[in-house]
Every structure is written in C-alpha cells, then in structure tokens.
C-alpha cells in the first residue's frame, strides 16, 4: 500500500499552485528581454500563436497524463507514462520528469536564495548611496562568496542552505498543508507587488527622481511592432521557446500536481485558468517593470547593451540602484517588493520541483512524506553546491542549459508523440474532456496530433543545428555553419575552445581551462544522476513485478 495519501485542499489552491509552478523568474526577466530582441510589440503575435497551438495543448496533455496516471496511484512521470503503453522503455523516458526537477532545483534554489538575501539587503539599506557600479560590484562580490555588508561569512552559502531548508520544511508539510498554503499566500502577494511595481514602471517622468526618460520611451521600445521580424524563423523559435519555458511544461511538475486531481474532476478549465494567470503575470506585469524602469533611468542604448547579457544582470545589478533614486524609504519598499515578488515566483516553482521525487519515493518505496522531502533537500544540496562554489566556472550555466533548456524540449517532444500517437487521440481526447467544465474546441484534436508535435520537433531541431547568427536564409541556401549556441556546438564546447585559443593572458587561460574542466565534470555528474534515477525506476519496476502490481 502506498504511503502517499496526498490531495489538494481546494480547487483555487490547485490553480494557484499550478500557476505558481509556471510563474517564475523568467516571467519578469526572460520575457521582456526576448520581446525587445525579437520584434518588440510584433513579438506578441508569434508568442500568442505559439501559446494557442503549443502551450495550451501541452498543458492539456500534461494535466490529463497526470490525472490518468494518478488513477493508478502514480504521482511521477516514470510510472505515469508507463500506464499509457505496454512498452517497458517508456518509463525510462519518464525519468526526465524527475531528473529535470532535481537538476533545475539545485541551481534554481540558489537563484531563489539571492532574492531572499536581496530582500534583506533592500530593507537594511545596503544599496543606499551606492552608484550603479557599486551595486554591480556588490553582486559580483556576493557570487564570489566574498564577505558581504551583513558580515555573515559565506553569506551566499548560508542563504542557500536556509532556502533549501525552507523548501524542504514546506514540502514535508505536504500538498495541502504546505505547497498549497504557500501558493495561496505567495501568488496573491506576488500579484499585488507586481501591480505596485508595474504602476511605478509606467508612471516614470523624465526629470523626476533622476529619471532621464518618461515611461513612454521604455514602453515604446518594448511594444512598438517591427513586423518585418515576423518573417524571421528565429523570432518564431524565440516565441515558441519563451512559451515553453514560461509554462514550465516538459518538466514533470504539472503531471505530478495533476496526479492528485480526482479522476472525475475537471482539468481542461483548470489548465486554462492556470495558463492565463501565468500569461497575465508575464505579459501585463512582467512587461511593465524591468524594461520601462531600466530605460527610464539608463536610456535605450545602455539597456540594449545590458539585455544582451540577459535579465538577471538587470534584476540584480541595476534595479537595486534604480529603486533608490525614488528615495530611501520608497527604494527600500520597492526593492523589498521586487525581490519579494521574485522570491514568491521562485519558491512556488521550486516547491513544485520537489513533488515528483517525493511522489516517486512514496509510491514506489513507501517512504514517508518527511523522508521523501528531506531526501530531496539533501540531494539538491549535494548537487547544487557545485553551482554555488564554482559559479564563475560555468557550472550554474551548464545545469541551466542541459536540465533547464534542452531536456524540457526533449521530454515534451516525446510526451506529445506518446499522447497523440501511441496512447492515441481517441483516448487522449477522452482524457482531456472527461469531467471538463468547458467545451474544448474540436480543432484541438488536430492541433494536438499534428501541430504541437511538429512545432516541438522544429524547436528541437532548431536548437540542435542553429545556423550562425540565426541566419536561416543563408543556411537553407547552402551555407550552413553551426552557431556556437547550437546543441551540437555546445556539446563540443566550441565557444570555450575558441576563447581558449584566442586568449593570451595566462590568468585568463587558466580560468578558461578550469572552466572547461568544470563544464565537463558537471555533465558527467548530471548523467550520473540521470542513470541513478533510471536505476531506481528499474528497481521499482522489479518490485512491482514481484508484488504483482504490474
């Protein structure tokens, strides 16, 4: 008999938890950057199209797979996918749905701990009086594990461990007693903080509090449509990628949460509600904060340069300085709200990442909820410490790339084919519409069977063999040189090797050589974890055979 007796306390709690799972740092940091780099306002067109033909279908696929597997007492993807077809290999594809979460949680919790630390620093006024270089230098010192102004030795490690303990404690309280409670508090607070900051973001006036531009300049930069970009495959790929990551599909968390939904309860309306809540946070709130505030104080040219480095830099190295232009009190309040919002976005996601491992250990080995939670915390700590200690050697980025980017696409591709073609659309459609509180449009039978898998295949192949500078036109006309960002070139460490070949400074050469070592070591570690989980799945399968449960 499984030790797993979890259930959701309420439907609203489930929706908020699912929305929390989806809403993450990317809603505020990735979307705005992707939009400005891919056509501005015109980006919304491919973005919404991809949401309709890839995002929503994947949500419905994962919710219904989860609820289906839950009927047989399975709360993690290895045995959820095992219920869908008799081929014994499918459950090893399902290993992604546990591995991805452990690997992502290990570095994501580190990010989350930064937001916690920065909340505290905002409140105690660490950034008061610092110029932008000072704020950036603080961050660089922080991740180098230098001594901070709080005087805590190894401050980033302390906050990381605290963050892990917090996640583990909440997970040990279970679904309704822990995860759902955090979602019911965190998501409304996130939305309130977001609305406040969005209001501040859209009401900046040039000349007031040191601003050099009105909000309109930043909003124009973000929303002015460059329709020519719609002809570029790279823009459509970027849109598909953003929809993918923003919804947290391809991870296994949605399957896990949905596995605790009763078999007669709706999933179609629930999925739509959670999905559009994520879109609200991303497109309405996220778009009104980072870019308008940054451009209001730094100007278009400077922000254009900064976004090349991604949204994290703006979030941690720039915004704390900008907030304090609003005065000491408002600066502290804004900083606390900004990092508080990012913290809630992060923790609702990291909690979701803990549940597949817990579900698996409870279902297959009768572990208690507490043991499952603490084992998750321990594994994430052990796997995550390299991302903390060797941050500047690329370990964090390596985990993010393989577990937080590539594996999601691979798993989503497999599951969309499994659902639509192996399990079959007849049964699949029955699962999506069973208990539904909305009329699911019939066209989605066609979309889920043909459009979604093809789009995912295109996203995967597009990432595998990305042409140089994203120039698909040149590539198709015969000059296909792989970009260093392509998966193939990443496997070969092409970019690192080029930097090594070009470096002349001995210190830089040593740093790059160390980076190459840590990058390869990270890959071996991640593969070892995957194989370890696959082995556990094999042991669990043999146990089920012995106990005649399969």
């Amino acid at each position: 008999m499984s030790a797993n007796k979890e259930s959701w306390g309420s439907r609203v709690g489930l929706i908020l938890a699912m929305a929390g799972n989806a809403v993450g740092l990317g809603n505020f940091l990735r979307f705005p950057v992707q939009a400005v780099q891919n056509g501005g306002g015109a980006f919304i067109i491919p973005y919404l199209v991809c949401f309709l033909v890839m995002g929503i279908p994947l949500l419905w696929i994962e919710w219904s797979m989860g609820r289906f597997g839950g009927k047989f007492g399975h709360h993690s993807t290895p045995f959820i996918v095992d219920t869908m077809h008799k081929n014994r290999l499918w459950k090893y594809i399902g290993v992604f749905g546990i591995w991805t979460n452990i690997a992502v949680a290990s570095y994501y919790c580190y990010l989350e701990s930064w937001t916690l630390s920065y909340m505290l620093h905002s409140v105690v006024g660490t950034f008061k009086g610092l110029d932008q270089e000072g704020v950036a230098a603080f961050f660089n010192s922080y991740i180098s594990i230098g001594k901070s102004t709080l005087g805590i030795p190894l401050e980033p490690v302390v906050f990381y461990i605290f963050c892990l303990l917090l996640n583990t404690y909440i997970l040990s309280r279970g679904l309704s007693g822990g995860v759902e409670r955090v979602a019911k508090v965190g998501m409304p607070l996130l939305i309130v903080f977001g609305i406040f900051l969005a209001y501040k973001g859209v009401t900046i006036k040039a000349g007031v509090d040191g601003a050099i531009n009105d909000s309109a300049v930043g909003l124009n930069f973000l929303w002015t449509p460059n329709y020519e970009q719609l002809w570029s495959p790279s823009v459509w790929l970027a849109a598909a990628g953003q929809i993918f990551f923003t919804l947290s599909v391809g991870m296994g968390t949605i399957h896990c949460y949905a596995s605790y939904v009763r078999s007669k309860d709706d999933i179609a309306l629930n999925a739509m509600s959670a999905g559009w809540m994520n879109e609200f946070v991303e497109v309405v709130l996220g778009a009104a904060i980072l870019i308008p505030i940054s451009i209001g104080y730094l100007g278009v040219d400077r922000v254009t340069d900064l976004v090349q480095l991604g949204g994290l830099g703006l979030a941690f190295k720039t915004l704390p300085y900008l907030f304090f232009q609003w005065g000491d009190v408002m600066g502290a309040v804004a900083g606390m709200m900004w990092f508080g919002l990012l913290f809630f976005a992060g923790i609702t996601s990291s909690l979701a990442m803990g549940t597949p491992w817990m579900g698996f250990m409870q279902d297959e080995f009768n572990w208690s909820r507490k043991s499952s939670a603490w084992s998750f915390g321990l594994i994430v700590f052990l796997l995550g410490m390299p991302t903390v200690l060797f941050f500047k050697y690329g370990v964090f980025d390596e985990y993010d790339y393989w577990a937080g980017t590539v594996s999601l696409v691979v798993f989503a591709l497999f599951e969309s084919i499994l659902f639509a073609w192996v399990f079959g659309m007849k049964k699949g459609w029955r699962e999506i519409t069973s208990g539904s509180d909305i009329k699911v449009p019939g066209i989605y039978k066609f979309i889920i069977k043909f459009v979604t898998p093809l789009l995912l295949l295109w996203v995967f192949i597009g990432s595998l063999i990305t042409p140089k500078n994203g120039d698909w036109g040149a590539a198709i006309s015969g000059n296909w040189v792989l970009d260093d960002s392509s998966i193939i070139k990443k496997v070969m460490n092409s970019s690192l090797k080029k930097q090594l070949a070009a470096a002349t400074d001995p210190i830089e050469i040593a740093q790059l050589q160390d980076t190459l070592f840590y990058v390869n070591a990270s890959r071996i570690l991640l593969i070892a974890v995957f194989l370890g989980i696959a082995l556990l799945v094999y042991v669990a399968y043999k146990k089920r055979v012995r106990e005649e449960k399969i």
């Binding site: 929706i15 929303w223 509600s273």
Partner: protein, 53 residues
C-alpha cells in the same frame, strides 16, 4: 507613446487580463462535482497500458 505601440499594448493587456479573469471566474463559479457513487464509478473503466484502439 506612439500609436501602434499603444494599440498593441492595450489590446494585449485587455485580452490577457480579460481571459485570465474569465477563466478564473469560471473556476470559482463552477458547481462542485458530486461524490462518485458505485454506478458512476463503473463508467469509463480504464485499464493500465490498454492497447491502442
């Protein structure tokens, strides 16, 4: 703001906010499902790993 940016921004915000509110409203106003009885539970019996029909 320039007109095209304003139009795209306002239409997107209206659409997304409207749909978010609509679906959440549908959730909170949906009638709770009745507890399954033994007859209803026998409907739509599903088997693990059943072959593709």
């Amino acid at each position: 703001m320039n007109t095209s940016a304003l139009v795209i921004m306002l239409s997107t915000i209206t659409l997304v906010t409207g749909l978010m509110v609509y679906f959440f409203y549908r959730v909170v106003t949906a009638k709770p499902k009745s507890e399954p009885d033994s007859y209803a539970d026998n409907d739509d019996e599903v088997h693990r790993q059943e072959t593709n029909l």
